[in-house]
Structure formats: C-alpha cells, structure tokens
Symmetry: D2
Subunit: 141 residues, 4 copies
C-alpha cells in the first residue's frame, strides 16, 4: 500500500456480518477506529496519551466508499495515514484491502476538545511532531 | 405475559442480523438493556435519576436462553420484571416473545456502586420503593 | 424539517454510548439504516419487498458529518429523503436533529444487485414509482 | 489458565466501551464468539468447515458473570474449552483474564441444525473427533 505510513489487520467477526451474508457496512467504521488507535499507539504514544492530557479527540466526519463485500473470517489490511493536522483538527485516510484487492476506502475527520469543557483546543505539539515525523518517514524515497 | 410488570417492544434492525440470516445472539443483550431502561423510566424516574445521584448500576451477570430465531424486521415484545432487590444488588427477569410465541428468556444481575469510587453502595431507598410498588401492583389479582 | 419526505425517531441506547460519554459515531450509521428501512416501509412496501423480488440493495457509500454530540437516552429525529434513483443506483440524504437542533447530517449510496449472482440489476420499476410519488408529494407547496 | 485447551486474545475497542467508561457487557458476548471461532480454526478445521457441510451451529444459550470491569485498550485473554458434545448439542466454557486477574467467566450452548431446513442434525463425526482429541491433549498431566 504505497503512501500509507501504517497498516493494521482485522479479521471479520461473525457478529459483524448481516443477513446479506457480508460484513455490515457499519462494521467498517469501527475497524477504521481500531486502525487509527493502532496508528496512534505506534507513532504517538497511544490515544490514551491524548486523553491523559485532558484532551478528547472527537470524530466530526466519516466517509466510506465500499468497493467489494467482505465476508466472515476475511482478513482485511487497513492502510492508515494522517492527511491533515492543524489547529484543533486532524484527518485520517484509509485503504482497506483483502489479499491485495481493494475492498473500501475513506477518511475520518477529528477535532480536539478540552475533556472537561468540550471546547476546541489545539492538538498537542508533541502529537503533531510525532505524527509529522511518522508521515515524513514514509514519503522518503 | 402474566407476571410481568412491564412490556417493551423492539424491532430487529438489519445491522443486528448475521450471516445465518437471523438476529445475532448478542443483540438480545442490548435489547434487554433497552427494555430495562424503559422499565426504570416508567417506574423509577429513569436510569438517569440513579446516575444523577452519583450511583452507577453495573451489570454483573447475563443469562439468556434462545428458544426460536428472530429475523430482520421482527417486532419483539420483552416482558421485564425486577425479581430481587436488596442491599447493593438487584436482578431483572425477561421474556421475549413474537406475536405471543416465546423467542427467548433470561435474566440480568446488577450491583450499584458509587460512581466516583466504584465501591458497592446500597440501592437508593426511593428506587427500592418505586420498584416494589410497581411490582406489587402487577401481582394484585 | 423542510424538504424531508419522512421522519423517524430513535432513542440513544446505553450500549451505543462510548467512554467519551456520548453516542459513538458508528451508531449513527446504524440509525440511518433504521430510518431508511422505516422510509421504505412507509413508501415502498418495505425493504423485505425488494428482497422478496430476489434483489439485494447493497450500501456503496456512507458520509456523515457530526455537528453536536448525542447522549444516552436522547431522542433523535432523522429526516430521510431519496435524492437520486436511476438504473441500479439510489441515494438517500439524512438530517439528524434533537429538539429542533441539528446533530448530524449525511448521505448513503446504494446499488441493487441480483441476490443470487450479486450482479448489478436495475431498481424495480414499482420501487422507483413509489419513491418518486412519495418524494413528489413532499415538494408540493 | 489451567484446564483450558485454547487461549485467544482481544483488545478492547473504543466502540466497545460505554458511558460508564468501561467495556459494555454485551461486548463480551461477541468476544466469546471470536474466541470460539479461533478455537474451531485451531482444532476443528474452522467454523466455515461446519457451514460448508450444510450445517449451522446456532447459539442456544449464553451465560456470563462479570467479576471486574475491562477498560478501553485492555488486552484480555480468553480461555476456551469444549465442555460437552453429544448428539446435536455442544457447550463451551470461557475464562476471561487481564494480566492473570479474572475479569469474567461464562459458557455458551449450541445446537447444530441443517442449514436448509433448520432441523436439528448431529454434530459431524469428524468435528467430534477433532474436538475430543484437542480437549484430551490438554488434560494429559
């Protein structure tokens, strides 16, 4: 997956399928979150580190385009990259594949708020630096 | 549903089905919770009233026996009764039917804890009184 | 909700909240589906009617923008309208409000396929007519 | 985990937490299923092998006792063993631990049915043999 700083795998649970005998489309939203959490653990001290700093990262947008169905027990690889990061906002892009074949792609948008007041607050500086460093390293030829 | 103080209806969502083309068994656990919340809203000022008093009701046990499958769009009626209530513990019993035919039955067990310390704390007196009154009324011939 | 042919209500379940003490963003995807199913039941003989005709409606895209958080037990009103319908594709738009205040909005895209072969197949004519009639009626001044 | 033929790990997803800031009790039901599927993959050719034989394994009962709360990002180890297997019925037992500390335990009951008719049908012989062999091996001193 060219251009993706990080990859994460999920295996489709039986509970995540529906009566069309495929993974329900809402399951992907949860997988993107799991992949994002794994990205933050790998590159930025973990999502808990943000929360420990009294900051919550809210999800302000979700966009998913489904290209192929996924089935029970499929192993999906999710490419994750942080595509924007400024002020109190950041954005992730995702590519979901099964054995090299595209299954879905999309993005999520996020805003950081003070956990107590829920007012917008800037993304912590260390977080920005960690993510920028991680993303930069994947773009080096 | 004889002996049930309260009844609540749910309609099976498509997302709640699985690749067996029936409602996934974990969905019932969520429906029992929705029915229990509706019971508390009807009889005891709502679950939020308990939380507003600085008390959390934890779920300490779940037991479900499935008698028939439920399908997408089925309307299920859930009978709810509080079968035990003392100290820091209470228990609910449930019967799930579809058009008068039994689909499942079970119970959930709960413990009240202080929301801040998570230490066991007695069920509030007003809650006991409200529930006892509601349950007593259904047993009057 | 001006311009919406149909409205559907959901009440936020406790299971649908997360550790940010708000409704998890993936829950909205399930609510949009419930609202869409209710729309089809009201206007087009129900989703089951499509499936009975040997046709499955796949979800090919989901887009959601979250404007405000929803909390446990909130009652949300979801406006639904079919904004496109041609060939083997259709699209729904949604507005989610709580007591007249916007909470979220978005759209879902769908494709109809033959249930057996999963090949694209045109949306049934009766379905198109039912939906066009329903949507037209809401635009009459 | 003495006496458990198989162990499986899950990491608590953010979507699986609730407004009590702990893993929602229904999430455990899904984890037990994931652990059971992994057990079958390890010992009995996978759950898909049963389905490929035209047999569905229905869940007929779930029992869970929660001893400690689990939190977001906790890694839980689930011990799984098949405790009964005869005719058209089988049963699994589970122990959920976090770093050696008990979090929950329970069981699930299952019945095998013909996928087409949904009539009870005996558990396939090869399945019984595989599971008996796996379980026997763990009890050897």
């Amino acid at each position: 997956m060219e251009g993706y700083a990080f990859m994460h795998q999920v295996r489709v649970r039986f509970a995540e399928t529906d009566a069309q005998r495929i993974a329900h489309h809402a399951s992907f939203v949860v997988w993107l979150e799991e992949a994002r959490v794994a990205y933050l653990a790998a590159f930025a001290g973990g999502y808990q580190a943000i929360r420990d700093g009294g900051i919550e990262a809210l999800t302000t947008g979700v966009h998913l385009e489904y290209e192929r169905a996924a089935a029970f027990d499929d192993v999906l690889t999710i490419g994750v990259r942080c595509s924007e990061l400024r002020g109190a906002r950041f954005r992730f892009e995702y590519l979901v594949e099964r054995e090299g074949v595209r299954v879905a792609h999309g993005w999520t948008a996020h805003a950081t708020v003070d956990a107590a007041t829920h007012r917008p607050t800037r993304v912590p500086e260390w977080f920005v630096e960690d993510v920028v460093r991680a993303e930069a390293s994947t773009r080096t030829p």
